[in-house]
């Protein structure tokens, strides 16, 4: 017995080291993209308060880029407004009726925490369930899609960034409607790859890649990236496409969270799919 106690005394340091490492590694490897509780994430109350305080000062550094993006967006809206049109009443015009049901609602939020340095990056937003945000909502900036909400607390929400190797965003080519998915490679924060585009499609450098609208998270036609380079792959029949992300994630400050008002309906219907095939 004595020798056992002595033995334990001699190796207690190693034992505690191993126990703590195992706890760390298990929580690292078992890390699930969907969090059950926000307490152990940066969307908890204390972390949110501290990031808010930081953001009050750091936010100023990004105003220049932010203003440029907003001005661009504004000019697009202005040019589509009725005052920008010349009314030609002498001719016959066919009109498309725009009466319809609202499907997407945009909620504004600020990014209070962001990173681009790791392999799996997340964003924290300063709007939570109090503004009607729930999980599985898309996050877009003025220039393009940036992430998906995965956890929500009362005043904050946690979104998985497009710069995260664990998600792919369903995307299509704007010109030809061929769809694939955009996945980050973990290398440069401005670039990602577009997979699953078959070899016979014609591509050009600079082609825009937009959201496909198949996923019930993002509306269709939201720009994500432009094609930077591509090569045909001889092993399978798909291209290797490098795309340049339209949003500079390093200076992201204000975003929109998109609520799909018909998401439940779509998901409910799609859940029947597995039942029918059984």
């Amino acid at each position: 017995m004595d020798s056992l106690l002595n033995f334990l005394k001699n190796i207690h340091f190693l034992l505690i080291f191993i126990v703590l490492e195992v706890i760390s590694l298990v929580s690292l490897i078992g890390q699930d993209v969907k969090r059950n509780s926000v307490f152990y994430t940066s969307a908890n109350y204390i972390a949110g308060q501290i990031y808010d305080l930081t953001w009050r000062y750091v936010g100023y550094f990004y105003l220049r880029e932010e203003n440029a993006a907003l001005m661009q967006q504004l000019s697009k809206i202005r040019s589509n407004s009725t005052t920008s049109y010349f009314l030609d009443t002498a001719k016959f015009h066919e009109r498309i009726d725009t009466a319809g049901k609202l499907k997407y609602r945009y909620i504004t939020a600020s990014v209070v925490k962001n990173s681009v340095a790791r392999q799996n990056n997340f964003l924290t937003l300063d709007a939570g369930s109090n503004k009607g945000i729930t999980t599985d909502m898309g996050v877009v900036s003025a220039s393009g899609a940036v992430g998906i909400v995965v956890a929500v607390s009362e005043n904050y929400s946690l979104a998985i960034s497009i710069l995260n190797k664990k998600i792919g965003i369903s995307a299509k080519l704007k010109n030809s409607n061929f769809y694939g998915s955009i996945i980050w490679t973990g290398e440069n924060y401005r670039y990602a790859v577009l997979n699953e585009i078959p070899n016979h499609v014609e591509l050009k450098q600079g082609d825009t890649v937009v959201t496909s609208g198949y996923s019930s998270i993002f509306p269709p036609e939201i720009p994500i990236a432009t094609i930077e380079s591509f090569e045909k792959n001889s092993e399978d029949n798909f291209y290797k496409i490098n795309v340049r992300l339209l949003t500079d994630l390093k200076c992201l400050s204000n975003v929109f969270v998109i609520e799909n008002l018909m998401q439940d309906e779509q998901l409910q219907l799609e859940s029947l799919e597995s039942k029918i095939t059984e």
């Binding site: 207690h12 505690i16 703590l20 760390s24 690292l28 930081t54 340095a117 392999q119 997340f122 973990g186």
Partner: protein
């Protein structure tokens, strides 16, 4: 080790965590994304008298606090615990001939530049190597991970040495 020394250590912990998440995590040099991990200074300045097992637990708490803030459960904790595990071995290896005197601290101004470099460089790089290899989950992209370890390690080491000059007060 009295209660005063432990409360001083707790204050150091609070300051370093706040500095890391409010200041250093906003620094991002070059496209590689170099963010200095300055908070590990805490493990370097734990007094010699603190028992080894307690150092491991302190390191775990420190790492996990940072993990909560940056949403990487276990990544920082695993690296800080490994660093705290190595520390007693490094200390024994570079110990002065008569051992460590009572009342001295592992600070640059007390132990001298060459001792401090021998002490901090292996520990900082051990931490960074664990951190970036766990982050990229293995050895793929080996060159990029290697560059990140080296460059971030240099940035952290410079900040740690600067901090020694700034925070030291003569008794």
């Amino acid at each position: 080790m009295d209660i005063r020394a432990y409360s001083k250590l707790f204050l150091t912990y609070l300051i370093l965590v706040l500095l890391q998440i409010m200041v250093f995590n906003n620094i991002n040099i070059s496209a590689l994304g170099i963010t200095p991990l300055f908070y590990i200074l805490f493990i370097l300045v734990i007094p010699y008298e603190v028992p080894g097992w307690l150092q491991l637990i302190f390191a775990f708490i420190l790492g996990y606090t940072i993990d909560i803030f940056v949403d990487t459960p276990g990544l920082n904790a695993a690296s800080t615990v490994f660093m705290a595990f190595l520390r007693p071995h490094i200390l024994r290896f570079i110990s002065p001939r008569d051992g460590y005197e009572n009342g001295t601290h592992p600070y640059l101004m007390e132990m001298g530049m060459s001792w401090f470099l021998n002490y901090s460089i292996p520990l900082v790089f051990a931490h960074h190597a664990t951190y970036f290899m766990l982050d990229s989950f293995g050895f793929d992209h080996f060159f990029r991970t290697f560059m990140k370890i080296i460059l971030t390690g240099i940035a952290t080491e410079i900040l740690i040495i600067l901090s020694q000059y700034i925070s030291y007060r003569k008794k």
